[in-house]
C-alpha cells in the first residue's frame, strides 16, 4: 500500500520546522533574516501543493481507506499551514518574545505533528482491521466446510453404502435433514428443557430416530415447562412410541399440539391397523398406565379412539393457562 500523500506530510513538517526555527530565531538562539523564512515557507508549501496535482501522482485506482487517508492528510496540510502562519504571525507581533511560553509552542508543534502523521496511523489501523476480518472470514469458511464434511458428506457416503435398504436410507436422510436445519437455524437453539413446544418437537424427533417411523410434528403456541407439562410430554412420548411401533410399516405418525391460555392439547394420529381398547393385549399395558394413568394423575385426561383400518388417535389434554 502506498504511503498516504508524502507531499502533504512533507509540506506540513517543513512548515512546522520553519515555525520552530522562527521561534528559535526570535529567542535569539540562532540568527536569521525573517524575510528568508517567509520566502522559504511559501516556496515549500507551493512545491508540496504542486506535486499533489502533478499528473501521475494520482494513482489510477484507490481503495476506500486510501482515499480517506488522502482526505485526512489534506486536512493535516491545512492545519499545518494555519499553525505555521499562526506561529509566523505571533513572531511578527513579537508576542512570543515576552510570553516566554516555549511550552505552548512545543504543545502546538506536538499537536500539529500528531495531526499530520494521523493518516499514517489511521491507515495502519485500517490495514490491521482488514487483515483480521479476512482471517475471521476464512476461519468461518473452514468451520462451515468442516461441519458439512462431518455431517452431510458422511451421511451421503453412508446412504450410498446402504442404498439397498430404503428404510435405513430414509431414516438417515431425515436425521441429517433435522440436524442441518437446526444447525442453520443457529441463532436460537431449541430449549427442550425449558419450553413445552421444543420439548414436544424433541420427543417427536427422538421417537422417529428410534422406531423407524416418520414422525411429523406441528406445534402451535408455547408455554414454559413445569411438572405437569413434563408429564404431558412424557405421555406424548409414550403415545408416539406406541403409534410408531404399530404404525403400518415405515408409516407416518403425526403429532399436533395446541397450547394457549386455556391449556394444552396434544393429538397423536397414525394410520396403523388400530386396535380395540377393551382388549388391549398385555404388551400394550403402556397405554393404560403411561398415558391414561399419567394424564389423570396430573389433572388432565386422555382419549383414545381406535378401530380396525382407521388407525389410532390419541388426544391428551391438560387444562391450565400459561404459568
Amino acid at each position: 500500500m502506498r504511503r498516504p500523500d508524502s507531499s502533504a506530510l512533507g509540506a506540513g513538517i517543513s512548515i512546522l520546522a520553519l515555525g520552530a526555527l522562527l521561534l528559535l530565531q526570535d529567542k535569539e538562539v540562532i540568527d536569521f533574516e525573517p524575510g528568508w523564512f517567509l520566502a522559504a515557507l511559501t516556496a515549500l508549501v507551493g512545491m508540496a501543493l504542486a506535486s499533489r496535482s502533478l499528473p501521475g501522482a494520482e494513482p489510477a485506482a484507490r481503495t476506500a481507506p486510501e482515499r480517506e487517508a488522502e482526505r485526512l492528510s489534506g486536512a493535516g496540510l491545512l492545519v499545518g499551514v494555519i499553525l505555521g502562519a499562526g506561529l509566523f504571525f505571533a513572531w511578527a507581533k513579537g508576542a512570543l518574545a515576552d510570553a516566554g511560553d516555549v511550552a505552548l509552542a512545543a504543545l502546538v508543534v506536538t499537536v500539529a505533528l500528531g495531526l499530520i502523521s494521523a493518516p499514517f496511523w489511521w491507515s495502519m489501523a485500517r490495514r490491521l482491521g482488514a487483515e483480521r476480518m479476512a482471517r475471521v472470514r476464512s476461519q468461518e469458511r473452514a468451520e462451515v466446510a468442516a461441519h458439512l464434511h462431518d455431517s452431510v458428506l458422511q451421511t451421503l457416503a453412508l446412504m450410498q453404502k446402504r442404498a439397498g435398504d430404503p428404510d435405513e436410507v430414509a431414516k438417515l436422510a431425515r436425521r441429517q435433514e433435522r440436524e442441518l436445519r437446526s444447525w442453520l437455524a443457529g441463532e436460537e437453539p431449541p430449549r427442550p428443557g425449558e419450553r413445552l413446544a421444543d420439548a414436544l418437537e424433541a420427543v417427536a424427533a427422538d421417537v422417529e430416530e428410534h422406531h423407524g417411523a416418520q414422525v411429523e410434528a406441528v406445534v402451535v403456541g408455547d408455554a414454559p415447562l413445569d411438572e405437569r407439562r413434563e408429564a404431558l410430554v412424557a405421555a406424548s412420548k409414550e403415545a408416539l412410541t406406541n403409534a410408531a411401533k404399530f404404525a403400518a410399516d415405515g408409516g407416518e405418525v403425526r403429532l399436533y399440539a395446541e397450547i394457549d391460555e386455556s391449556g394444552a392439547k396434544v393429538f397423536v394420529d397414525d394410520r396403523g391397523p388400530g386396535f380395540d381398547l377393551d382388549s388391549i393385549p398385555d404388551d400394550r399395558r403402556g397405554v393404560r398406565e403411561s398415558i391414561i394413568g399419567r394424564m389423570k394423575r396430573h389433572g388432565g385426561h386422555a382419549k383414545i379412539r381406535s378401530g380396525p383400518d382407521r388407525g389410532t388417535e390419541i388426544e391428551l389434554s391438560l387444562p391450565g393457562g400459561r404459568a
Binding site: R181, S182, L184, A185, E187, V218, V220, Y256, E258
Partner: protein
C-alpha cells in the same frame, strides 16, 4: 374439470426439477421448466400452464418476484409454492404475494398431483405446517375496534378444519370426520386463504418475524 392439469416447474435445482417431473409423470402434464426468475416469467407467458409449481428461494428475487412479474400480464395465473423452507416468513410472504397454497418438498407425488389439480380448480392447498402457522398467527383476541371480523378472525369451523389439516388428515377424511362435504372443506380453506392474503392483522407479519425458525 377432470382433465389432466398442466404445470411449469420453477426451481433453481435441476435434480429437484427432474424428481418432481418424474413423480408427476402420469398425473400431470409438465409443459416446461425454468430455473431463474426471467426464465420463469418467459416460460409462463409462452406455455400458459394451469398451475405454476414455484420454489420459494431462487437467485434474483425468488418466488415472490415471479408472482409479481407474471401477475402484470396474467393476473389469473395460479401458483402453488413448493419449498424445503419452513421459515414462517417465507411461507407467509409467498402466500400473501398470491400463491394459492404451500406444500413442502417431501410431499408424495400423489398428494402433489392432487394439490395441483385443486389449485387449478381455484381451491387452496395447505400443508399441515402451513395450517399450524395460520392457527398460530390468528391466535389470540384483538381489541374489538381493531378487528375486521371479515378478514382478521377465523370462524370456529375454519379453525376446526385447519386443526384437522395440521393433524395430517386429507380433505376427504376431514369431510367424513366433521360430517361435511369435501366442497365445504374446500370452501373453508379458500376462505382462510383469502383472510391470510388480505388481513391487515398486524400480528401476521410480526408473528412471522418472531418465529424465524427453520423447522
Amino acid at each position: 374439470m377432470t382433465s389432466v392439469p398442466s404445470v411449469v416447474i420453477v426451481d433453481d435445482h435441476a435434480i429437484f426439477r427432474a424428481g418432481v417431473r418424474a413423480e408427476l409423470a402420469d398425473r400431470v402434464a409438465v409443459l416446461g421448466e425454468a430455473e431463474s426468475v426471467e426464465e420463469a416469467v418467459r416460460a409462463i407467458a409462452e406455455l400458459e400452464p394451469d398451475v405454476v409449481l414455484l420454489d420459494v428461494h431462487m437467485p434474483g428475487g425468488g418466488g415472490v418476484e415471479v408472482i409479481e412479474q407474471v401477475a402484470k400480464q396474467r393476473p389469473q395465473q395460479r401458483f402453488l409454492a413448493l419449498s424445503v423452507s419452513d421459515d414462517p416468513q417465507d411461507v407467509i410472504a409467498i402466500v400473501r404475494a398470491g400463491a394459492r397454497g404451500y406444500v413442502t418438498k417431501t410431499i408424495t407425488g400423489e398428494e402433489l398431483a392432487d394439490g395441483v389439480r385443486r389449485v387449478r380448480d381455484g381451491d387452496a392447498v395447505f400443508s399441515p405446517r402451513l395450517a399450524g402457522f395460520v392457527l398460530d398467527a390468528f391466535a389470540g383476541d384483538l381489541p374489538a375496534e381493531e378487528v375486521d371480523p371479515e378478514l382478521d378472525q377465523l370462524t370456529a369451523r375454519e379453525r376446526e378444519v385447519l386443526r384437522q389439516i395440521a393433524r395430517g388428515y386429507l380433505y376427504k377424511e376431514i369431510a367424513l370426520r366433521l360430517h361435511i362435504s369435501v366442497k365445504t372443506v374446500e370452501a373453508h380453506v379458500s376462505s382462510v386463504l383469502r383472510k391470510l392474503q388480505l388481513s391487515n392483522r398486524h400480528e401476521l407479519s410480526r408473528w412471522a418475524v418472531s418465529r424465524r425458525l427453520v423447522d
